[in-house]
């Protein structure tokens, strides 16, 4: 865990230092009237006159103490900016992760029960459509159809104006309405991985001897599938959950910019466009950190669900 965290900071730092010009020169572009002294002061302020390893260590020291620096754009603390946007992105991602789970696992199971059937093939095409479709395009189409033409759903933001003054239930309904489109499309894109994995895992288990034994004992098919096969087939899916996180968080850049959702992805996009290096680095680190936490949770879940792991740790 520690070496990975260290590697993450190193890559963040390298990426930012690929930049040909310094941020100070960018300030100059924006305000050509900036005096040489002002530019000099700016360079000093951000420590840009120091050698690169020293800058890395200084920055690392800050990161370790959870100080991500100040934004170039508005001078606010980066961790503050991220903190106010993180809950929105997390909510969106957790909601779609949940939706992906409850849709893709049944899809995977049903396809595995009758591999090669029309049903299996139709589901394959369905999940591959989600996997291959440019999500920004689908989002755009959905906005036009459901938002503009039919007028059923709002197309931007996460709440209507005046949401704060509504009674609680109405507020909740308002949020749900705003989240339907982004969450559905995000989940559609993520179905393939999980359902294909469930399918092949299930197929694998169904070939095992103990399934034949269970059937030979005369157990009803339902019991064989649910009690014997499913339990074993779903174990590896837990690991996949952890692996799905970076894709989802990364995708939030696109979704949040399209639907104008004020989350971390939108902040990242704005920072990238403005070359706000401290914010870019901060979000990169937080994003990678979230993935690590996700993987850790998946490992713990695996440990809890699978009693074999507790006995044979090194498998």
């Amino acid at each position: 865990m520690i070496p990975i965290l260290f590697g993450i900071t190193l890559i963040c730092f390298v990426v930012i230092n690929l930049a040909p010009g310094s941020p100070a020169s960018f300030t100059e572009e924006l305000s050509p009237k900036a005096s040489p002294e002002a530019v000099e002061a700016l360079i000093k302020l951000y420590g840009l006159d120091k050698p690169i390893h020293e800058r890395y260590l200084n920055w690392l020291r800050m990161v370790v103490t959870l100080d991500l620096g100040k934004s170039f754009v508005d001078g606010r603390d980066v961790q503050e900016k991220i903190k106010e946007r993180l809950p929105i992105t997390l909510t969106l991602n957790l909601l779609s992760l949940f939706l992906i789970l409850i849709i893709s696992i049944p899809i995977g199971i049903y396809s595995a029960l009758k591999p090669g059937s029309i049903f299996d093939r139709a589901l394959t095409v369905f999940v591959f459509t989600g996997f291959s479709i440019p999500t920004f395009w689908l989002a755009l189409l959905a906005m036009i159809i459901f938002g503009v033409n039919l007028g059923w759903l709002p197309i931007s933001g996460i709440q209507s104006i005046g949401n704060e003054n509504m009674p609680f239930l109405q507020r909740l309904l308002d949020w749900i309405k705003h989240l339907i489109l982004p969450v559905t499309i995000m989940s559609f894109a993520g179905l393939a991985g999980m359902s294909r994995y469930t399918r092949s895992s299930m197929l694998e288990v169904l070939r095992q001897d103990f399934i034949r034994t269970a059937r030979a004992k005369g157990l009803p098919e339902k019991v064989v599938i649910v009690r014997h096969a499913l339990r074993n087939a779903l174990l590896p899916v837990v690991t996949l959950l952890g692996l799905a996180i970076p894709g989802l968080i990364g995708g939030s850049v696109i979704f949040e910019s399209i639907f104008s959702i004020p989350g971390m992805g939108q902040l990242f996009y704005a920072s990238a466009m403005a070359r706000d290096y401290p914010t870019i680095m901060g979000i990169l680190i937080i994003g990678a950190f979230l993935t690590l936490i996700g993987n850790l949770l998946a490992d713990i879940a695996y440990f809890i669900i699978d009693p074999r792991i507790r006995v044979k740790r090194d498998v």
Partner: protein, 279 residues
């Protein structure tokens, strides 16, 4: 083995459809000059935002350029980015994976830690950060997409190498005095090639999707160069008045990526011995 795989893939109707479509896109990209009805850069202020008609089958864009011609030329960008990014990812992943699996020990630990680190980043964040820091250009996009997509290949190749390097034919080669490089490249890697081909097929589709997303965000292929994501990016601003600018490039991206993915899935099935037990 090769013939058998081809035979199995050709049995899969979806994969055949995908393969056909990929050939068509290739054909269009190569002969874009001859096929495109108009110059994709030619601005015509008298024909701005015209809906699809006999003259302009897919309509015109905000500068009066022919959308069909721009989509035809856009195929070049997509295929170029898709295949070169795939090449970079596969090459990096194969080499690092082979080194890690063959030499084990310290170097294995370092490479696998690097894989873990790279996998921890939300890929799109990392790509956007690099593209934003450097000026976006088609070359940078290809390299960045490639360098953020090699980790799965490295893991896969490493696992293959680990299982292959103890096999008799490798031991025999070593006994005959073959060098490590020769053993890796001549004896081991050719035996690990099929799963890599599957990964490569998926990675072309993935790279095309990422490129179009970047161009859509304005951080990919820069106008006036025609790219599918770029046309969409402008199209979204005119979507209520000119739906054709948004609909058609999206279909092009979708069908191309879908074709590569269906082909990849068919290849994966063809290589799975359990599915063909009766053969």
């Amino acid at each position: 083995m090769f013939k058998l795989i081809i035979k199995r893939v050709l049995k899969n109707k979806l994969a055949v459809a995908g393969l056909t479509f990929i050939f068509i896109v290739f054909f269009i990209a190569i002969f874009a000059n001859n096929i495109a009805p108009y110059d994709p850069y030619k601005i015509n202020v008298y024909k701005v935002l015209e809906p699809p008609s006999k003259e302009h089958i897919l309509g015109t864009d905000e500068l009066g350029r022919d959308v069909l011609s721009r989509i035809i030329y856009g195929a070049r960008v997509s295929l170029k980015v898709g295949f070169i990014a795939m090449g970079i990812a596969i090459l990096t992943g194969t080499i690092l994976g082979a080194i890690a699996g063959y030499y084990r020990g310290f170097i294995d630990t370092i490479i696998m830690r690097l894989v873990d680190v790279m996998l921890a980043f939300p890929t799109l964040f990392l790509i956007l950060a690099v593209v934003a820091v450097l000026e976006p250009s088609i070359y940078i996009i290809m390299v960045v997409i490639g360098l953020t997509g090699w980790m799965d290949v490295a893991r896969l190749v490493r696992a293959e190498v680990l299982s292959l390097k103890e096999r008799e034919f490798v031991l025999a080669a070593r006994a005959m005095g073959a060098s490590s490089g020769r053993i890796i490249f001549i004896h081991i890697l050719p035996n690990a090639i099929y799963p890599v081909i599957v990964a490569a097929t998926f990675s072309v589709g993935g790279a095309i999707l990422i490129e179009s997303g970047l161009s859509f965000l304005g951080l990919g292929i820069q106008p006036p160069e025609p790219s599918w994501g770029g046309i969409l990016s402008v199209g979204k601003d005119y979507i209520t008045v000119a739906w054709w600018m948004s609909l058609f490039p999206g279909i092009a991206i979708f069908l191309t990526v879908l074709s590569f993915n269906l082909l990849g899935e068919a290849l994966r099935d063809a290589l799975d011995p359990k599915q063909w037990a009766e053969d």
